[in-house]
Symmetry: C2
Subunit: 339 residues, 2 copies
DNA sequence: CTGAAAGCGCTAACAG
DNA sequence: CTGTTAGCGCTTTCAG
């Protein structure tokens, strides 16, 4: 009996009221007498009435769902962001609809359009490695469709953005390595199309400069798909091993893990000599061997914040004029050398 | 925050047709002339018409979305399962709506009810550690609401189930440890309420018996919340350290990682002596120190299969009579001792 | 305070 | 082949 699909009509009939009265009573309208309200509410509770949200959506042009687009779900950083998003959405009674674009701008676009046409009320998105043309997103935003970007954000679009302090994170990484006596620090990163790549690269350069170290382009390797395919990383490592370097700063979760794997698989490589510091949100970096010093982003909190901004924008009566860019600090997590 | 969108009415008006004709043309109905169809399709494409799925849902009582309920998203196993689910859903044009219950049966239920009332077309669920009363799920299923269980499945409900061969996985783990010369093998696992706990425990017992080893209850520790909170694990480890054991078999991702963390944090514990074999879907187990031998489930494939079964059930005209239980093999991944 | 009626955008009898 | 009509379940004027 718990799950019959009653409608407002059933309640109206049973109580000898009109559907509008019932609707209003349910929504606690001021124009309904307390007696009627109580009656309706009681009966509704008794039959375990649940409003049909589809009908409500159609009427209100609002679906209480938000779309999320990420590279892939099975990724430390993204899954933690989604955790944060879901937490906020749950507390505000929104559903979270997820899709993956696997670094393809085509899939990104088809997902955006699908989510838009399926009347999600807004979108949270981290751009794909391939994306250069943002005009379709801009058009949607101009139509009033709320979009909040996180992690990988557009440069010159007026919108809410939630990011980590990538520049500082990169800078800290270099400072740390230099303090450990490293002088030739390589950099493994993603495509230049992404904001995170450029910001972390800047941090890297700033770090070098602050320590009077030269910037050597041959020590910087870009993986166009952010290490989504291990081949990219193998290729980069092969190239790097022809250079001389005593430490490496890596600009992403997938890349960091992939680099360690690649090195582990090369019998020749001496893992103890080349220090690794990399962006990663793995919760078990301290268990790794060879060790890796992690640059950690507050992924959960970033997800929370992004969801809050989005829902706030969705529920705002007027068009947002002032867009915010929220920057979260990163944390450097050094692996204890207990063993 | 509304924005203009074309409707079937706009097309009808522009083309001097009735809405029903347009609707039928759009759906490629046999009763519409090819000429009219072409005209409608062309115009629709020109104005970039997108059908309002909410309206369609209301009419058809079908939303082309499926709900997924897991403990948490930021988990190796679950995120990989969701990856598989999303892949299949994407290819069949279904949306994936995600929610987390964090081992709470209350949250599980509220999520189920919410997803149901929001007219998702079906549900994929791995039960919470607390859940004992399945009657509300049974009621939904009796009403014809499609639910496919994966990983943590009910014992005696007629439904599709997708699981790993947990018994065999446990058995293999013990065989492996015994072959390495271990004789006192502990077991760290979750609550007895869960199918996976009982099956893996059985595998453990079978393994012991097959090797003429005694089953010692004091070597088996249950964490009621599957290690969701690290305290549980600390507690179990503290208890275990008072026993004598030379190896341990661990029954879940969270527990495996948590155990390694707990041990690492205890200066006294000699990590090299106690071999660890555990269920985990981490893709970097081979980088761990202390090493862990992984019992790996084909999580992605399990997600794919579960989604396929669900969508098949959703789209089937008649009630399913024969339910399937799909069992996937596990793989034992030994860490190479290269360093 | 309550009810009648219109309509959100779409589909599907039922008539032509 | 195409149009008319009647809803899906809910909200919301507009009248009483």
């Amino acid at each position: 009996m718990a799950f019959e699909n009653y409608t407002i009509k059933d309640i109206a009939k049973a109580l000898n009221l009109s559907t509008s009265t019932v609707s209003r009573a349910l929504r606690d309208s001021y124009e309904i007498s307390t007696d009627t309200k109580r009656m309706v509410l009681e009966y509704a509770a008794k039959i375990n009435y649940r409003a049909n949200p589809i009908a409500r959506s159609l009427k209100e042009k609002k679906s209480y769902s938000i779309g999320v687009i990420v590279t892939e779900i099975a990724n430390n950083f993204f899954s933690q962001v989604i955790d944060g998003i879901e937490s906020v959405a749950y507390s505000k009674n929104y559903q979270v609809v997820i899709s993956q674009m696997r670094e393809s701008s085509v899939r990104e676009r088809s997902n955006v359009e699908y989510l838009y046409s399926r009347s999600t009320d807004g979108l949270l998105i981290a751009l794909s490695s391939e994306t250069t043309d943002l005009s379709y997103l801009e058009q949607l935003m101009n139509k009033g469709f709320p979009i909040v970007f996180f992690d990988r954000v557009p440069n010159d679009l007026a919108c809410h953005k939630v990011i980590a302090d990538n520049r500082q994170g990169g800078f800290d990484a270099i400072q740390y390595l230099v303090r450990k006596g490293k002088r030739k620090i390589a950099h493994l990163t993603g495509t230049k199309k992404l904001s995170i790549t450029m910001e972390r690269l800047e941090g890297y350069k700033m770090g070098l400069e602050a320590n009077g170290l030269p910037y050597l382009p041959e020590l910087v390797k870009h993986c166009e798909y952010g290490g989504l395919h291990q081949d990219e990383i193998e290729q980069a490592v092969t190239e790097l091993l022809q250079e001389e370097y005593d430490a490496i700063f890596i600009s992403g979760d997938k890349l960091s893990m992939g680099y360690l794997q690649a090195m582990k698989a090369r019998p020749g490589a001496d893992l103890t000599k080349i220090d690794v510091t990399g962006f990663t949100n793995s919760k078990v970096v301290n268990l790794f061997s060879p060790p890796i010093t992690a640059v950690r982003q507050p992924a959960f909190e970033m997800g929370e914040k992004a969801a809050e901004l989005l829902i706030q924008q969705i529920e705002s009566k007027h068009l947002i004029e002032e867009f915010e860019t929220i920057v979260f600090p990163t944390t450097l997590i050094e692996q204890s050398v207990s063993d």
